[in-house]
């Protein structure tokens, strides 16, 4: 009983820590500044840029992550262990270091050729998307792999004995059974991309009204000692992030009880 009370106390302490930190923002809350900042052209640009870049990075990550996660979930192949290990890279290497790696890559001959002949990444929208893509890809693959693991291989085998091609079995059996996991992976990957800062700063820099995503805008406002404006941007980011996480929890919760 005492142990249970202690663990419940710990859980409430976690809630109090994060809740308290967010609540402390309201010390600097100013209604006039809030409305002025919220509807300013610069803030709207940041919100729009963040939503667009996070969505593009998430879609690109999922397009690669879905087949990769399926292969990792279903097949044993040379290099599988190495691929599984590399997926942890964004977790153990800081986003700033990942961004630095991307920046350095675009300074070698292959990177320069890509910049000249494909698209220009450094200090542009493509750079923001790439930085977020690299940061979230590992997480996306991990989550999708877990979603595919939940679907027994046996079902695909049965579908194939019933005449379905591997592709037909994937689209009619595996994907419908894993869809909640896929949606949850999309939302969490998107939320992580939305809050990405370090890699974006390294690759795209911090240029107002150009590469100013919400986290970059927070950094820039704080650097210029605009605390009240910073609070507004933080609240916007927190609201969007919490809404995404809430949606993911609802979907995962329903999947667990399905």
């Amino acid at each position: 009983m005492r142990g249970m009370r202690a663990s419940i106390g710990a859980a409430l302490a976690v809630l109090a820590l994060y809740g308290g930190l967010i609540a402390s923002l309201f010390w600097f809350f100013d209604g006039g500044v809030f409305l002025g900042t919220l509807f300013s052209e610069r803030t709207l640009f940041s919100v729009r840029l963040s939503l667009l870049a996070a969505t593009a990075a998430t879609v690109a990550a999922l397009l690669l992550a879905i087949p990769a996660a399926y292969a990792l979930s279903r097949h044993r192949f040379p290099g599988r262990e190495a691929a599984e290990t590399v997926l942890e890279l964004p977790l153990i290497v800081s986003p700033a270091a990942l961004g630095a790696i991307i920046l350095i890559f675009f300074n070698n001959p292959v990177g320069e050729w890509i910049q000249e002949n494909v698209t220009y990444f450094v200090f542009g929208f493509a750079g923001i998307v790439l930085a977020q893509f690299v940061t979230v890809l590992g997480v996306a693959v991990r989550m999708l792999e877990a979603a595919f693991d939940q679907v027994p291989v046996e079902l695909e085998t049965v579908a194939r004995t019933l005449g379905a091609s591997p592709r037909h079995a994937f689209f009619t059996i595996t994907l419908p059974l894993a869809w909640r996991g896929l949606v949850a992976a999309f939302i969490l990957t998107w939320a992580k991309a939305l809050g990405e800062f370090g890699a974006t700063l390294m690759v795209a820099g911090s240029m107002a009204m150009r590469t100013e995503t919400l986290p970059i805008a927070i950094f820039m406002r704080l650097s210029s000692a605009d605390i009240k404006g910073t609070v507004v941007l933080i609240l916007i980011l927190v609201a969007i992030g919490l809404a995404a996480l809430f949606a993911a929890r609802r979907i995962l919760g329903r999947a667990a009880h399905a």
């Binding site: 027994p152 046996e154 079902l155 085998t157 049965v158 579908a159 194939r160 004995t161 019933l162 005449g163 379905a164 091609s165 037909h168 009619t172 059996i173 419908p176 059974l177």
Partner: protein
Amino acid sequence: MLEIEALGARAGGFRLAGVSLTVEPGECHAVLGPSGSGKSTLLAAVLGTLPVVEGRVRLAGQDITRLPVERRHLGYVPQHLGLFPHLSVADNLSYSARARRIAETEYRPLLDRLTEITGIGALLHRRIGTLSGGERQRVALVRALAANPRLVLLDEPFTALNASLRRELWALLKDLQRERGLTVMIVTHDLTEAYVLADHITVLIDGRQEQSGDKRTVFRRPASLAVAHFLGLKNLFPATVTATGEGQIEADVPGLGARVRLPGEAPVGMAIHVGIRPEDVALRDDAHPPRPGEWVVRGRARLIDLGADALLQVEPCTGGPRVELTASWRTLHRFGLGQERTEVTIALPEAEMFWVGGPAPAAEPGQGPIAPWTRGGE
């Protein structure tokens, strides 16, 4: 219908080698073996989900060794049935027709007939999650058969059911097999299930094919000590071949104090085991005297109630190994038996004995000299 020739396959660190068997059209062939014997590996190789590293698989004369799963036209019911939980029963049943783009007019008559035989008509609009264990089995079976497969593969599909439901589904499968002329290969570790359903049996042990043949032969004449042990036979007595010729061997069985003549050929001096099934051991008394060709001994019996039958574990008064026999209660009452411990006379008919190759007999510690058994009719 199905011919497997010297098949070899690997699954992780496990290796299945040299399996050859034939399943004739319309027959049921059981692949029997303990856990880890290679049954599922063999099934996966026939299904096409595991690459064959050596040998060939032919179905209706066509080499399907390298054919993708979906082009083999096999029906498959796995252990956990593999029903699609997001589809209704009706959608599960018509999945094959939709995957193969077959018109409803073509597949509907067979599906309707199967639905009628198995009595699942009322379930068509139900979700899979709402079905009972027996209903799920029927749906899985009908779904596999509705695709009109050339061969039906069953991977221990009745394991999770209670005894009564299992017997009911065995009967249903037999009915379906008779009516549709199905060719079936079933993988199981259940001896009764294999005996009830199969015409022929292949026994796999440790990735090797130990025996293949008519079910009665496999059960009554196991081909090796490993098969005899797997079949649960306890009456196995170490012996040595003393003479051979004219399709017969003569073997010295020290445990029985007997010298027996059995069909077969083996070199003189070879270590073997002589065995007999417990139901072939007979009770004898003055009203039922020993017959010629029987090895007879008196012993103290311990009775174990098996329900309809009883198991007698008899310790011979001459010493030597214990002999087990099974008999109905009616038989036991005829011999005035029924107490927990009692003295009986038992007879081992030489004609029912079999022999298998085995390691040299080891002397059992503390076992004194064994007096010879008497031979009936002498």
